[in-house]
């Protein structure tokens, strides 16, 4: 009699509980981690591979992408010698919470509360902090007189020049220290790159390109021509490019060499089969190319079958409205 009662009062509820709590298995890819919460509290980071979850009490709060990849960040509202500017930076990073916290549970429980988008915003904040410190340090090393011209004030942030490299080096050192606090690890193998320098439109409008070139030549007499082009074109808005299409006819399988000449106003590109000669006069962009000739790839990749499959016909249920050829 007692055994019968035990079966009813303990066994059946236990069975119901086990059914209610049944397991499920989630397969986590190599490049992802699942943030698993149990009964509302952080439980663990699951993956890669199969992750065993309890049906009712475990919840996947979010997925974190842990692969190492480059990312662009726009950092606006910076100042150099009182001139506002912004950088678009490119850096390689991964969201590796376990490595960043050395698997300390409390720290991990705090970091897992943010998704990848929020972490990107945090990176921007850390980047700003690091850049501000680094820029201030460079300004203190090289104080300028109050009469200094705009372009002189801007030189330290022009990509590719020594000061900007110093700014990035300092910023990187600080980021390596601060980014783990938000679960981010910088990749040592790739440098931080300035992709774009953003200046206010009023500044761009008043930008005297010839003066810039002249000043750069005075300060950096050995700066190669193509570096000069790169420096000038990296300043957003100060874009002297009026490059037409390149004619690559006649290469016939030989190696081609590209060459740029900058006359202060225009960049003149040239493609030849011989290594570029410094003495040769620049040639005009190949405007003579027939306007409708097939473009020799024009910087675009070949269209693969997968590319073509992206394009679809308007779905059938809308076919009544489709404009067929």
């Amino acid at each position: 009699m007692i055994e019968d009662n035990l079966l009813w009062f303990i066994g059946i509820p236990l069975l119901i509980l086990l059914f209610w709590l049944r397991f499920r298995v989630e397969i986590v890819p190599q490049e992802k981690r699942l943030v698993v919460y149990r009964l509302g509290r952080f439980s663990r980071l699951a993956g890669p591979g199969p992750a065993l979850l309890l049906h009712r009490i475990d919840k996947v709060a979010r997925t974190i992408h842990v692969r190492d990849q480059p990312a662009r960040y726009l950092v606006d509202g910076l100042f150099i010698y009182d001139i506002p500017f912004g950088f678009t930076l490119n850096l390689w990073r991964r969201f590796d919470l376990a490595a960043a916290t050395h698997n300390q549970r409390q720290a991990l429980a705090e970091l897992v509360q943010f998704d990848d988008d929020e972490r990107d915003v945090q990176i921007q904040v850390k980047l700003r902090e690091a850049l501000v410190r680094s820029i201030v340090a460079v300004q203190q090393q090289r104080p300028l007189p109050s009469t200094a011209q705009v372009i002189e004030r801007l030189l330290p942030i022009v990509p590719g020049l020594a000061d900007s490299i110093q700014i990035l080096t300092n910023a990187r050192a600080e980021l390596e220290r601060t980014l783990p606090s938000i679960g981010v690890i910088l990749n040592d193998a790739h440098p931080i790159i300035i992709e774009r320098l953003h200046l206010g439109q009023d500044l761009i409008d008043g930008f005297n390109r010839n003066r810039t070139t002249e000043l750069l030549r005075q300060r950096f007499p050995n700066l190669p021509e193509d570096t000069m082009v790169q420096v000038i074109t990296s300043i957003e808005g100060a874009n002297p490019l009026s490059v037409g299409r390149f004619s690559v006819e006649g290469l016939q399988g030989q190696h081609g060499y590209t060459e740029f000449k900058f006359d202060g106003q225009h960049i003149n590109p040239r493609i030849t089969t011989a290594p570029p000669s410094v003495a040769e006069a620049p040639v005009a962009p190949a405007k003579s190319l027939a306007a409708t000739e097939p473009q020799a790839n024009a910087g675009e990749e070949k269209l693969s079958k997968a590319d073509l499959q992206v394009l679809k016909a308007v779905p059938q249920r809308h076919a009544g409205q489709q404009r067929s050829g």
Binding site: D117, R323, S324
Partner: protein
């Protein structure tokens, strides 16, 4: 239009890819101004709650700030009857770009949050913007949508080339949240079908000072092949009265406006599409070209793939001349 309205209602984004001159601007005008009152037909009671601001990519100043300003202006213009958001004197932005973006966010939050309206930005002629970027600007378009407006803010892109090819310098499928918004919804915008082309011609004829004889209209339609701008150009040639009794294909191709239009169509194609088009008219295409031929058919440039048949006899003539000059 039904496809677009369905997407706008669901807050989903899409991309319509069409060759130059296929009437993309007509669609944007219909969406913006709705001259034929299509919206109440499809959107019913939701008509005043869904806005279609039009951003013309051709006027972009190649900076993020310029894009935010264009979007802000377009949205402001189409918000008839919606009170503007109250000014917030506390916000002080350091850069013009941040200020422009902040203004746009404020208005979107106001329209989508306060009034619970939906907004579908029409990003017209977006090829250059996708090509130039930068990625941070494009991703910001997704971020705008993420901030509590996931089902209320969407985009309709018009491009002439495949969007992921245009933006290949910035994003690859699966790595850009902006591209992911519409990556599964890139649709071919074909040419007008017979009835639509006929309707357009009749409308042109009705509005012409000196209407053409109805026997000229089928000829115009057959040689234009449903290409909107070509229909208009050839219609105007007929209106000028300079068409000989039995005009040849060469006669039309030699007209500057017609030639320019075909050049525009051809130049807006991908180099691989251009190459296969030239091989087709030279009868030198091979089995390896099958995918691209089907692609051109989907785009409406070919109306049959086997044997290949171009949408207009003038296109054949133009390509033959081009192939001959290339070989020469």
């Amino acid at each position: 239009m039904r496809l677009i309205f369905d997407f706008a209602r669901q807050g989903e984004s899409l991309c319509l890819m069409g060759v130059a001159g296929t009437g993309k601007s007509n669609i944007t005008n219909f969406l913006r101004y709705d001259p034929y009152q299509h919206k109440p037909l499809y959107l019913k009671d939701e008509t005043p709650l869904i806005h279609f601001p039009v951003v013309d990519g051709n006027t972009w100043g190649e900076t993020p700030r310029s894009l935010w300003r264009m979007m802000l202006t377009a949205l402001t213009e189409c918000l008839d009857g919606v009170a503007p958001p109250p000014p917030d004197g506390k916000i002080i932005q350091l850069s013009e770009n941040a200020k422009a973006l902040s203004d746009l966010k404020t208005l979107l939050n106001w329209v989508c949050g306060q009034f619970e309206h939906r907004v579908m930005f029409i990003l017209d002629d977006f090829d250059a913007i996708l090509r130039v970027g930068p990625l941070s600007m494009l991703e910001q378009l997704n971020a705008l949508r993420s901030e509590g407006k996931r089902n209320q803010l969407s985009y309709l892109l018009f491009t002439k080339k495949l969007p992921h090819i245009l933006g290949q310098a910035h994003f690859q499928p699966g790595t850009s949240k902006f591209y992911d918004l519409f990556s599964n919804h890139v649709y071919a915008l074909g040419l007008y079908n017979f009835d639509d082309a006929r309707q357009m011609l009749l409308a042109l004829n009705e509005n012409a000072g000196r209407p053409l004889s109805t026997k000229d209209l089928p000829l115009i339609q057959s040689i234009s092949g449903g290409h909107a701008r070509l229909l208009k150009i050839i219609f105007e040639l007929f209106c000028q009265g300079s068409i000989p009794a039995s005009p040849s294909i060469d006669f039309f191709i030699e007209q500057p406006d017609v030639r320019n239009e075909f050049q525009r169509i051809f130049q807006a194609l991908h180099p691989d599409e251009q190459a296969v088009a030239l091989r087709l008219v030279a009868q030198q295409h091979t089995r390896a070209d099958a995918d691209l031929i089907n692609h051109l058919t989907l785009r409406g440039l070919l109306i049959a793939s086997n044997p290949p048949q171009w949408f207009s006899p003038l296109m054949v003539g133009f390509l033959q001349r081009l192939a001959a000059s290339t070989h020469a």
